[in-house]
C-alpha cells in the first residue's frame, strides 16, 4: 500500500509525503550554509550571552588596546606631520655641535654671524636665510605680571623660513634689525600669560630690564612635542645681541630655505665644505656643526613612532593570541557540553560540514563581535586619552588599524575555532546521543 494512495481527510503525514517534492530547496548551498550557520551562531551566542561575553573579553581587550594605542600614536604622528609641513620641507637648519668629549674639555663649538655671511654670500640657490639667536627661556614683564618665554633673536626672513605670520601688527623688518630697534613680536601664549589686551600692538614689555614695544602678535601655532610654539618672543637679531650683553662669541642657529628642493643635497654639501673650511677643520676632524633638514628630522621621528607602534602592536598581538586560546578553551568545553545536541542534530540529518560550520562560525562571529566591541572601546579610549592630556593631538584611527584588528580577530576565530569545530563534527552520532 502506498502512503500517497491513502485518502485520509486532514492527513498531513500523507500530504507531507506527497508534498515533499514540492518543498523548495535552496539553489546555492554554500550561501545557504553560511547564512544558516551565522543565524545559528548568533542564536547560540545570544542563548549564552554572559558566557559569550566572557569568552570574547580577551578579544575585546586585545582589539581595544590595539586601536587605542594605534590611534594615539597615529594622532601624534599626524600632528607632527602637520607641524613639519608648516616648517616647510625645503628648510635646512645649521647649528653648532660639540661632541661630548670636547664639551667636557670646555671647548664649545659656536656658529657666528660670520658663518651666516659666508653661507648667504657663497651658496647659490638659497631662497631665504635667517640667523636665530636664542637665550633659552627668559623673563618677560608687563605691568605687574611676569612670564617665562622662549626669546629668539632673528630677522625678517624668519617669517618665511619658519612660516610665522602675524595675526595683528607687523613682523620684524630689515630696518628694525639695522637700527637695533627695541621692538618685539609675541606669541599668543605670551599675550595670555601677561594678560595683555587682545590686540597687544603698541604695548610695552620689559626683557632684561630693557623696554620693548610690541609690534605684532603671531598666529597661534600650537605645540610640537610638548614645545609650545606660541610661548615665544621674537626680537630683531641685532637687538637680541645687545640685550644678551657683549658676550664675546654669540652662538646662533642658521635657518634657511632652498629655492629648489632638488638642490637640497648639493646645498647641504656646499654648506658643509664652506663651514669646515672656515672653522679650519682638518680632514680627520669631525664637523663642529650639524646640518639638519626638516625632512630628515621628520623621518627620524616617524621611524621612532613606527618602532613604538610595532613593539606595542607585538605586545598587544600576544594578548589577542591569549584571547584566542581562551576562545578555543570555551569552545572545546562547549562542544563537550553540547555533545548530546550534536548527536541529535546528526540523527536528524546534520552532516559533518553542518556541525563544523556551526561551531566554526560561532567562534568566528564571537571573535568578530568581540573585535567590533573592542574597536568601539579602543576608539573611545583613544579619544578620551587624547582629550584628557592637555595639548595632546586628537586621536586618529587609521583604516588599516581597523582592518587589521578585525582581520586579526577573524583569523583568531578561525584558527582557534577549527579544532573545537572539527572535534564536534567528528563525534559519533550513536555515542553522542547516549552522552549524559
Amino acid at each position: 500500500m502506498s502512503a500517497d494512495a491513502t485518502t485520509g481527510t486532514n492527513a498531513p503525514a500523507a500530504a507531507g509525503r506527497g508534498a515533499r517534492a514540492g518543498i523548495r530547496r535552496t539553489r546555492s548551498p554554500l550561501w545557504f550554509a553560511v547564512t544558516e550557520g551565522v543565524r545559528s551562531a548568533l542564536h547560540s551566542i545570544r542563548a549564552h550571552a554572559f558566557r559569550s561575553f566572557l569568552t570574547a573579553l580577551g578579544i575585546i581587550i586585545g582589539v581595544a588596546s590595539v586601536i587605542a594605542m594605534v590611534s594615539i600614536i597615529q594622532g601624534l604622528s599626524f600632528a607632527i606631520g602637520q607641524q613639519f609641513q608648516g616648517l616647510g620641507s625645503n628648510s635646512i637648519t645649521v647649528a653648532a655641535y660639540t661632541p661630548i668629549e670636547e664639551r667636557l674639555q670646555g671647548r664649545i663649538a659656536r656658529l657666528t654671524p660670520d658663518d651666516l655671511d659666508l653661507i648667504s654670500h657663497r651658496v647659490d640657490g638659497i631662497e631665504s636665510i635667517t640667523p636665530v639667536m636664542t637665550s633659552g627661556i627668559g623673563q618677560v614683564r608687563y605691568g605687574g605680571q611676569t612670564a617665562s618665554a622662549q626669546i629668539l633673536g632673528t630677522t625678517y626672513t624668519f617669517q618665511d623660513v619658519a612660516q610665522y605670520y602675524t595675526l595683528s601688527g607687523r613682523f620684524l623688518s630689515d630696518s628694525d634689525n639695522d637700527t637695533r630697534r627695541r621692538v618685539a613680536v609675541i606669541g599668543e601664549t605670551v599675550r595670555e600669560n601677561l594678560s595683555l589686551p587682545a590686540d597687544p600692538v603698541g604695548e610695552f614689555v620689559q626683557i632684561n630690564g630693557e623696554w620693548l614695544k610690541i609690534i605684532g602678535l603671531l598666529e597661534p601655532r600650537g605645540e610640537i612635542l610638548g614645545n609650545d610654539l606660541d610661548n615665544r618672543v621674537l626680537l630683531p637679531f641685532s637687538t637680541m645681541q645687545t640685550l644678551t650683553g657683549n658676550r664675546a662669541r654669540p652662538d646662533i642657529q642658521i635657518q634657511l630655505t632652498v629655492a629648489n628642493r632638488d638642490e637640497m643635497e648639493s646645498i647641504v654639501q656646499r654648506i658643509e665644505r664652506l663651514l669646515r673650511n672656515a672653522h679650519g677643520l682638518g680632514p680627520d676632524d669631525d664637523d663642529d656643526f650639524q646640518i639638519q633638514t626638516a625632512e630628515e628630522l621628520r623621518n627620524t621621528i616617524d621611524s621612532i613612532l613606527t618602532n613604538v607602534t610595532l613593539v606595542m602592536g607585538g605586545i598587544v598581538g600576544i594578548s589577542l593570541l591569549v584571547g584566542g586560546i581562551g576562545i578555543m578553551n570555551i569552545m572545546l568545553v562547549s562542544v563537550t557540553e553540547r555533545t548530546r545536541e550534536i548527536g541529535i542534530c546528526k540523527a536528524i540529518g546534520a552532516k559533518r560540514h553542518h556541525i563544523l560550520f556551526q561551531f566554526l562560525l560561532e567562534a568566528l562571529v564571537l571573535c568578530l563581535i568581540g573585535g567590533l566591541v573592542g574597536l568601539a572601546i579602543g576608539y573611545g579610549i583613544g579619544a578620551l586619552a587624547a582629550s584628557l592630556i592637555p595639548g595632546f593631538p586628537a586621536a586618529h584611527t587609521p583604516l588599516w588599524a581597523v582592518a587589521l584588528a578585525l582581520g586579526f580577530s577573524a583569523v583568531v576565530g578561525i584558527v582557534f575555532g577549527i579544532l573545537p569545530a572539527a572535534k564536534a563534527a567528528n563525534l559519533d552520532p550513536i555515542s553522542s546521543l547516549r552522552y549524559e
Binding site: D4, T6, G8, G16, R20, I23, R25, P29, A347, G349
Partner: protein, 233 residues
C-alpha cells in the same frame, strides 16, 4: 516494494578476545504502512537494530535495502541524507534542542535539507498544528510538559516526510495518561498511511502494533501479527 528489507544483517563487535554479536543474521521485511513493534529485553539487540534501521550505524555484514536502495555501503554524508529524508526519529528522552523553541526544533531537519527559512517556517507550523501544538510554537522545551515535548519531537520527525517513523521507547518517560495520548497519535499517523517502527520492552505498548517482532540475543525469536485492535477490545 518493501520499505525496509534486511538480509542476513549482523553487527558484531570485537571486545578483546570475544566477539559480541549484537545483531546476528537477521532477515526482516517491513512493508509500506506497516506498524511494527520490536520488543525485547535489554541486551536483546533491539537498540543496535534500531540504529541500523535508522542509518545511525552500519551492519558489519548483510544487506539493508531501504526503499530498494542498499544503504549498507553508504558513507557518512550519504547516511546523513538518508536519516534526514527517509527516517523520522523519536526518542525516549525526547531529545529536543534545549535552547530552541518548539518551532525551531521542528524546523531544524529542514535546515539540513536546505529548505529556505520562509518555507521551513510554514512546513514546521503545519506539523506543529498536526500534533496539536501550534499555540506552543514559541515555547522552549523546558516550558513544555513531557507529552508536549514528545509531540514536538513527533512533528520534527514527520516534517521531512520520512518513509519510516522510528520510535525508540517513545512512552518510556511519560505517565500512563500521556502514554495513551501519544500512542493514540501514532495510531492516527498509521491510519494516515505512515510506516511506523516502534521499539519497546512494554507489552502494553506492543499491543498497539499490527505486527510484533520479538528479539533475543540478536535474533528474531517471534514475528506475529496482532489481531485487529477493534476485535481484542
Amino acid at each position: 516494494m518493501s520499505v525496509i528489507r534486511l538480509e542476513q544483517v549482523s553487527k558484531h563487535y570485537v571486545m578483546g578476545q570475544h566477539v559480541i554479536k549484537a545483531v546476528d543474521g537477521i532477515d526482516l521485511t517491513i512493508e509500506r504502512n506497516e506498524y511494527v513493534v520490536i520488543i525485547g529485553s535489554s541486551g536483546s539487540g533491539k537498540s543496535t537494530m534500531m540504529n541500523i534501521i535508522g542509518c545511525l550505524d552500519t551492519p558489519t555484514s548483510g544487506r539493508y535495502l531501504l526503499n530498494g536502495r542498499n544503504v549498507a555501503g553508504l558513507n557518512e554524508g550519504e547516511l546523513a541524507d538518508v536519516r534526514n529524508q527517509e527516517i523520522g526519529f523519536i526518542f525516549q528522552s525526547f531529545n529536543l534542542l534545549p535552547r530552541m523553541t518548539a518551532l525551531g526544533n521542528v524546523m531544524q531537519p529542514l535546515i539540513y535539507a536546505g529548505v529556505p527559512l520562509a518555507d521551513r517556517r510554514r512546513e514546521a507550523m503545519r506539523y506543529l498544528e498536526r500534533v496539536g501544538l501550534a499555540d506552543r510554537a514559541d515555547h522552549l522545551p523546558n516550558q513544555l510538559s513531557g507529552g508536549q515535548r514528545q509531540r514536538v519531537a513527533i512533528a520534527r520527525a514527520l516534517v521531512t516526510g520520512p518513509s519510516i517513523l522510528l520510535a525508540d521507547e517513545p512512552t518510556g518517560n511519560l505517565d500512563s495518561q500521556t502514554t495513551v495520548e501519544i500512542l493514540a497519535l501514532f495510531d492516527e499517523l498509521h491510519a494516515d498511511g505512515q510506516t511506523i517502527v516502534l521499539v519497546t520492552h512494554e507489552p502494553d505498548v506492543a499491543a498497539h502494533g499490527e505486527r510484533v517482532i520479538r528479539l533475543r540475543d540478536g535474533r528474531i525469536v517471534e514475528d506475529v501479527r496482532n489481531p485487529p485492535r477493534g476485535a481484542t477490545g
